[in-house]
Amino acid sequence: MSGDMQRPILSVQGLTTVLARSGATILEDISFSLTPGEVLGVVGESGSGKSMLALSIMGLLPNVVRRSRGIVSLDGDELTAQSPDHWREKRGRDLAMIFQEPMTALNPVMRVGNQIAEVLRRRRGLSGYEASKEALNLLRLVEIPSPEKRISAYPYELSGGMRQRVMIAIALAADPKVLIADEPTTALDVTVQAQILDLLRKLRRDRGLSLLFITHDLGVIAEIADRVMVLYAGRVAEIAPVRSIFDDPQHPYTQALLASIPDMKGPRGRLVTIEGSVPAIGGMLEACRFSPRCPFRRDICEWERPHLGVVSGQQAAACFRPFGYEQPLEAVI
């Protein structure tokens, strides 16, 4: 966003993806940037398009989905303007991703050390000996206990948390600039989740790693993100520094999301609910997509699509309400 002088490491402009066959939009006009060493949290419920966003940036969209518009640039290199081979090269080296369920992403019949070494040989050109030495270092880096023993383990011999650590080691093997983490702690127990979040924080601090952290859990966001982008039904609802999101959310959806989480302290009143459910792909409105569920909707909300407008400083929301129910100037992001 403006105000930040640092050159973004990752920049996404006007990204729009559609179902190849029907043309129904999945993501619409997504723009944001990530500065070096920053953690941008992406929050959304099912159907918000948050996982599709990750795949779009990785250049790994499934065949049924197509990018119809938009630019993805990594460190000034416009990936969307170049060949798929170039993108693949970048994906191996500068862009890495970890997933919710490491068991499905790891090769079940290959020792974890070899899986890490494979990346080291192919992406960093290390010899077999160097690669296995470096694989051990990476297992140490991700704090796997007794790495000398675990290096020759198969994925099924490891716990869920340990597998996610191996996934992180593989992702870090090529020394990426940007790590995309798609719900990396959702399948883990809360004590293990806390350990993995600690590890990711440490990697960000020590190696200046930039992180795009996708989750549905606002607690995890509070713990790790610098800024937050809230997605609703394929559009950006709000983007702001993490404290603004928690202290002064501007979009009614962000407000409702925060209010519907049971509190860990204080009195236990009735939970605030958002009526209805997330619209299905293909059934999306052109006007404000949250309007059918919004307690503050007025006529304009049902007629027009709100632009993402700057509310103050680094906070922008796609909602007419903060702007006196008028169309805001489109934020330059």
């Binding site: 809360v190 928690f246 605030v272």
Partner: protein, 334 residues
């Protein structure tokens, strides 16, 4: 607490896979649930928390006798379920039900919602066609679904609506005790709140008793009157919900609660980090099963297994040091 006891489990044990011996202790199997004593009072919600593999779901199924215990007993309204005959058990089934996590998995995709709900009446031979159809509509009203839902198939509903169907099914026979096994865990937060409110409304209206099993600690705090914490097949702490969350007594509860992500970025953290992984249920440590990971461990913890026993303030804790007050103090929100 003067409410009647709805469910009482004594020494409930389930060993998977091992070979049993006629005399005492089994060997070889996974001791998923290992000597659980638990009371659920009529009309209350007892939260049951713990990490994956701790035995909380198995406990829920044992209480309903959906699986047979290896040892121990369960009494429902004073009658020992483990001694009932098949016919008697079937009759009591109507009074005790379960709501599962995944409504996709628990509903037959080729059965309309109306048929899915009335299946319970058919199996229990209640009413005729007309009265069953009427009951189905009543159930749909009860869970906040339109009556037109009766002729639709599960795939025509959203996740939240499907869970309402799951609840309607579970309540069709008007049970008094319901096990909610991760009943809201698969739902989006905005929908989760609707279902939690519904479960609470239904509890009040129908005087239901809930065992609410979940790994989501903020949901458990919200909905429970009391909370039991499980670790490796054992209950390690039982207390009033507010008490447990504000001032956990067992070192495992402390570690568990301190790992919950904050509700605000500036919230101070006091993390009790757990070292190592959960031991296998095949290879349970001698003495206190939390001892290998406990920051406050003493020699006696490795030697003798602490029993769940009352503290002066009314809680129950299975910890030698909590019992004699020698644990360093800990407060979640200090």
């Amino acid at each position: 607490m003067t409410r009647e006891i709805a469910i009482e489990a004594r020494g409930l044990t389930k060993v998977f896979g091992g070979r049993g011996s006629v005399f005492g202790r089994q060997t070889g199997g996974a001791r998923a649930v290992d000597g659980v004593d638990l009371i659920v009072r009529s009309g209350e919600t007892l939260g049951l928390v713990g990490e994956s593999g701790c035995g909380k779901s198995t406990t829920g199924r044992l209480l309903l006798r959906l699986i047979e215990p290896t040892a121990g007993s369960v009494a429902f309204n004073g009658r020992d379920l483990t001694e009932l005959t098949k016919a008697e058990l079937r009759r009591s089934r109507g009074k005790m039900q379960i709501i599962f996590q995944d409504p996709y998995g628990s509903l037959n995709p080729r059965m309309t919602v109306g048929d899915a709900i009335s299946e319970a009446y058919v199996i229990h031979r209640i009413g005729d066609r007309a009265s069953r159809a009427k009951s189905v509509l009543e159930m749909l009203d009860l869970v906040g679904l339109p009556r037109s839902a009766a002729s639709l198939y599960p795939h025509e509903f959203s996740g939240g609506q499907r869970q309402r169907v799951g609840i309607a099914r579970a309540l069709a026979l008007r049970p008094s005790f319901v096990v909610c096994d991760e009943a809201v865990s698969a739902l989006d937060v905005s929908v989760q709140a609707q279902i939690i409110n519904l479960l609470q409304d239904l509890q009040r209206e129908l005087n239901l008793t809930y065992l609410f099993i979940s790994h989501n600690l903020s949901v458990v705090r919200h909905i429970s009157d009391r909370v039991a914490v499980m670790y490796l097949g054992r209950i390690v702490e039982v207390a009033e919900a507010d008490h447990l969350f504000a001032d956990p007594a067992h070192p495992y509860t402390q570690a568990l609660l301190s790992a919950i992500p904050p509700s605000h970025p500036d919230e101070p953290r006091h993390r009790h980090e757990l070292v190592g992984d959960l031991p296998s249920a095949h290879d349970i440590p001698v003495g206190c099963r939390f001892a290998p990971r406990c920051p406050f461990v003493q020699d006696r913890c490795r030697a003798t297994d602490p029993q769940l026993s009352p503290l002066p303030d009314g809680r129950f804790v299975a910890c030698h040091r909590a019992a004699d007050g020698s644990l360093p103090t800990y407060r979640l929100n200090s």
